[in-house]
Amino acid sequence: MSKLAGYRRPHPGTQPDYDFPPYAGTTKRHPTQPLVIPPQTLSELTGPLFGRNEVKPTDNDLTRQHRGAPIGERIIVTGRVLDEDGKAVPNTLVEIWQANAAGRYPHPTDQHNAPLDPNFSGAGRAFTDAKGRYRFVTIRPGEYPWRNHYNAWRPAHIHFSLFGSAFLTRMVTQMYFPGDPLLELDPMYKCVADENARKRLISSFDLETTIPEQALGYRFDIVLRGRDATPMEQ
C-alpha cells in the first residue's frame, strides 16, 4: 500500500476542552467517557472536496444578496488559509455565518428583541485561491445577549467553517474584532486556554484591505492541522 503522512496532534492548550463549565451549554453535551485514540487511516486522511461551481459569485458578498443594501457598517474580511507548516491551502471551501448589524440572526430560535434586516441573511461562502486567500464583503455584526450568565453578551463575531483536504482538517471557529471589551468576559473566547492561541481568534484591522470611501478591512488568517514529516504505513 502507498504511504500517507498523518496529521499532527494539537499543541497543548490551543484547542478547547469539551467540558468547560463557564459555558453552560457544554454541561450536558460533552462526552464523559475517555475518547478512544485510533490510528489515522485512509478514511480520516481523505475528505470531501468541493468545486468552485458549487458557489455563486455573490456568495462571498453578503451585502449583495438581496434587493437593497443591508443596514450597518460595510467591512471586508480577508485572510489566508494555511497549514501548520505555513503552506497555503488552495481551493478549499470557507463558509461563514453571522448576526446582522443589530445583533440578530434570522432564525426561529433567536428571540432577541432587535430588528431583523430584510436585506441581510448573514450567510456566505468562498473558495481560497491558489495562495490560500479568501475574501468576503459583509457588514460588521452586532453584539447580542445570551443567557449563559447574568448580563451575558457575546462579542461581535463571525462563524467560520473550513474543510481543508481531509476529514482530520475539518474545523469550525469564530472570528472576533480587535479591541472588543466583551472578549475577556466571553466563555466562548476564553475556552482556548493558551493566551497566544486565543488572541489569534481576533482579526486585525488592515489599512491595505480597507477601501477608501467604501469599507474598513479586517484580516483573519486561519491555520488548519498540518501533517507529520514521515508517512506511515497504510
Binding site: 500500500m1 502507498s2 499532527r8 494539537p10 499543541h11 490551543t14 484547542q15 478547547p16 476542552d17 469539551y18 451549554g25 457544554t26 454541561t27 450536558k28 453535551r29 460533552h30 462526552p31 464523559t32 467517557q33 475518547l35 478512544v36 485514540i37 485510533p38 490510528p39 489515522q40 487511516t41 485512509l42 480520516e44 486522511l45 481523505t46 475528505g47 470531501p48 472536496l49 501548520e84 505555513g86 463558509e95 455565518w97 440572526y105 432564525h107 430560535t109 433567536d110 450567510a123 462563524h159 467553517s161 483536504s165 481531509a166 476529514f167 475539518r170 474545523m171 469550525v172 471557529t173 469564530q174 492561541a197 489569534r200 481568534l201 491555520v223 488548519l224 498540518g226 504505513e233 497504510q234
Partner: protein
C-alpha cells in the same frame, strides 16, 4: 514541528445555536444518487444530550468510500473504480426533536494500518451548540463479517463497541443514535 506559535492550528469554537443559517445550503440527505452502485441503505437516529433530550441545534457530516472501497480523493491511490457521481459526503441537520435521517450505499472495505482491512464504515463529524469542538465517531454495519477483525473497532472496549454498530430496523433501514452522555454513551475518537 514548526516553532512559530502563529502556525499552530487555529482554535476551534462552537457552531452555536444558529449553525443552520450558514451550513444548510449544503444539506445532503441523499448521499448516493440513483446511478451509484452498491447496496442501498437508509440510516436514521437521534442526537441525544446528557438528559436524553433530542438536540435541535445540531448537525452530522458523513464521509465514506464508494461500494468498491475507494474514496473520491486524490490521496486514495488504490486501483479501484471511482464513480463520477459519488462524492461520499453528507451533511444532515437535526430536526426539532433531534432526529436525523439519510440514505446512501454501504461502502466497500478500505485498508487499515499494517496491511489490515477495515470493515465497511462511515466516518462521522458531530456539530452542535454546546460543543466547543466537533466530535468524531464511526458507523459500522450490523452482522458484517469484517467487524470482528476491524482494526479500529478492536481498540474500543468490548462493552462499548455496540454504540458504533447500527441496528437493523427493516430491510434497507438502519438505526444509529448518538448519545453524548450516560448509559450507552457513544464512543468518540480523538485523532
Amino acid at each position: 514541528m514548526s516553532d512559530d506559535v502563529n502556525l499552530y492550528a487555529t482554535g476551534n469554537q462552537t457552531v452555536g445555536p444558529y449553525l443552520h443559517i450558514g451550513l444548510n445550503w449544503l444539506v445532503t440527505p441523499k448521499i448516493a444518487g440513483p446511478r451509484v452502485s452498491g447496496e442501498r441503505v437508509t440510516i436514521q437516529g437521534r442526537l441525544l444530550d446528557g438528559d436524553g433530550k433530542g438536540v435541535n441545534d445540531g448537525m452530522i457530516e458523513i464521509w465514506q468510500a464508494n461500494s468498491h472501497g475507494k474514496y473520491a480523493h486524490p490521496d486514495d491511490k488504490q486501483k479501484k473504480p471511482l464513480e463520477r457521481s459519488f462524492r461520499g459526503f453528507g451533511r444532515i441537520p437535526t430536526d426539532a426533536k433531534g432526529h436525523f435521517r439519510f440514505s446512501t450505499i454501504k461502502p466497500g472495505r478500505v485498508p487499515g494500518p499494517g496491511g489490515t482491512l477495515q470493515a465497511p464504515h462511515l466516518v462521522v463529524s458531530v456539530f452542535m451548540r454546546g460543543l466547543l469542538k466537533h466530535l468524531a465517531t464511526r458507523i459500522y454495519f450490523p452482522d458484517d463479517p469484517g467487524n470482528i477483525e476491524d482494526p479500529v473497532l478492536s481498540l474500543v472496549p468490548t462493552a462499548r463497541r455496540s454504540t458504533l454498530i447500527a441496528r437493523r430496523k427493516a430491510k434497507g433501514l438502519l438505526e444509529w443514535s448518538i448519545r453524548l452522555q450516560g448509559k450507552g454513551e457513544t464512543v468518540f475518537f480523538d485523532y
